[in-house]
């Protein structure tokens, strides 16, 4: 957990340092008063100071005795099965977004739901098929035709 806070504070510091650099390239003041770079610069400076303060606070915090288990650190990383599910969710979402335009909503949702349920541990294949059909073709019909919500139709007309 401590390492996580260090990394996060460091990431914030890099983000704010980058923002300070980019803001300084924008006009800070003009004839009417503050320019486009003024507010981001003030905010990024404040953020950078706070990120440094967080790092200092972490450095000064007493560390756990050597060899003693750190329950917070253990709790931070999920176990193997949970990690598989979480990575599966992220990868499947990314894959679905990548193919949504060429395949269209219905085919994308059909594959996405089928694979997602398998990743989440469902092994009732009839239920998987029915749910995937309902959430792909059924939801498309409801949203596209009844609620007039625009959803992508891919190169196969689906």
């Amino acid at each position: 957990m401590r390492r996580g806070w260090f990394v996060t504070a460091g990431a914030f510091l890099v983000l704010f340092a980058g923002t300070i650099y980019l803001s300084s390239k924008l006009p800070l003041l003009d004839a009417l008063g503050p320019g486009p770079g003024f507010f981001p610069l003030i905010l990024a400076l404040l953020g950078a100071v706070l990120a440094v303060a967080m790092i200092v606070q972490l450095v000064r915090e007493p560390e756990a005795p050597t060899g003693a288990p750190d329950p917070a650190a253990e709790a931070f990383m999920p176990d193997g099965g949970a990690m598989f599910r979480m990575i599966g969710i992220v990868v499947l979402l990314a894959a679905a977004f990548a193919v949504l335009d060429p395949l269209g909503y219905r085919l994308t949702a059909l594959f996405f739901i089928t694979l997602m349920l398998l990743v989440l541990g469902v092994r009732n294949y009839l239920a998987i098929g029915l749910v995937a059909l309902a959430l792909s073709f059924g939801v498309f019909h409801s949203f596209y035709y009844w609620l007039k919500v625009p959803l992508p139709i891919g190169e196969f007309g689906l």
Partner: protein, 499 residues
Amino acid sequence: MFDTLQYLMAGFAAAMTPTNLMFAFIGCFLGTLIGVLPGIGPAAGTAILIPLTFQLDATGAIIMLSAIYYGAMYGGTITSVLINVPGEAASVITCLDGHAMAKKGRAGAALGIAAIGSFIGGLVATVLLVVVATPLSRLALSFGPPEFFALMIVGLVLVTSLAGNSLIAGVLMTVTGLLISLIGLDPVRGAPRFTFGIPELFDGFGFIPVVMGLFGVGEILATAEKPYREVIKTSLSGLIPSRDEWRRSMGAIWRGTGIGFFLGLIPGVGAIIPTFMSYIIEKRLSKHPEQFGTGVIEGVAGPETANNSYANGAMVPLLTLGIPSSPTIAVLMGAFIINGLTPGPLLFQERPDLVWAVIASFFIGNVLLLILNLPLVGLWAKILEIPYQYICAGTLLFCMIGAYSINQSIFDLWVMLGCGVIGYLLRKLNFPLAPLVLGLILGPQIEKSMRTSLEMSAGDFSIFVTRPLSACLLALSVAILVFAAMQLAPKEIRDPNAD
């Protein structure tokens, strides 16, 4: 006052048309469903359902989304009582006594008193909303840019200082939210900022994909690592509390109503604090405080009433000042903006028909919630038995539809996914997400107010302290920050149990 009543009557006439009644009913039903489903909170739930309102007129859309909001605030109670998992953060405290009552076979009474308390709290809070809305919006009309700037700073400072156990982390999240809101075209000069030549970034990051990512995908990822909880099989027949339970609950309900409404008026307080405060007060006032946590009905009645009273009270700063109190209210504000409306005092002048129809719909919505929740409690319990894997897959799909359909943009989907992963990691590290969301939605307005103020004073910053109201509000912000720093200073910044 006569004007207010006239407007309210006209609002009732609009809200009670068959279509608007139907929208309120659908909203209450979907909201309760969102509250019931674990892994999807009111903020993400309301955001996901925004596409459903695309074909509606502005009044119908806002009525439905408001109903989804307060429906979700009630729905979380059901999971707290039956599976000891709060459907949304405000129902955390209900787990203590609500679930203990369920284990004793009194789940019906716990859910019954929660529904009745929510009804009373919501109704009284809406009456109070009607009373304060007009004078407050008239007062707000006298505000200039410096006063609005100072008021929004107070709101952000409150959110920041109350959101978590580390003031530094809270302010960092607020600053990050404000900075993200600045991506895109500068609102005053129209110059592009931090767009890196990417056309999609000229309009900035969409608020809805960010909220769906942080609170929808992030929550799903967090829930995916937890084991699935069993629903308690208990009798739900005794929904009406016993005479003794009524006697013990009435005081808690009235106190919860007052606590919820008045804390709802303060921008930034959030829904958790009123419920915890109500619980603490009931425990202090009880002759048997040691019994709290073992299934005491006051421990359910007070917080649940405060929760719904807060939900209606929190509409006051949104409608009269244009300041959201919580991420869910910020989503509602986003829905107003999508419909071409800017919440705030001018809305009472420009669209009184819409504002009063929405306020009238709160009364109707509270009645609908009571009708929905008492007889249908068995249905909600059945929904809880749906395996979580199906809910998770369906929720992610609806997140995809919701984020895509606002701008028909694949880029928004990537934003949602990125925010989901970041939101999950920040949640694990106990960084508060509410300040980020409020910073994101208030950022453009804060910058615009600040720059307009400075243009008024030809760049002289003393304009913020020479105007009495602005000076008082800024002094209040400083006082809140100092007080919060003193409160939080002795604590470690990373206490996993602090929330």
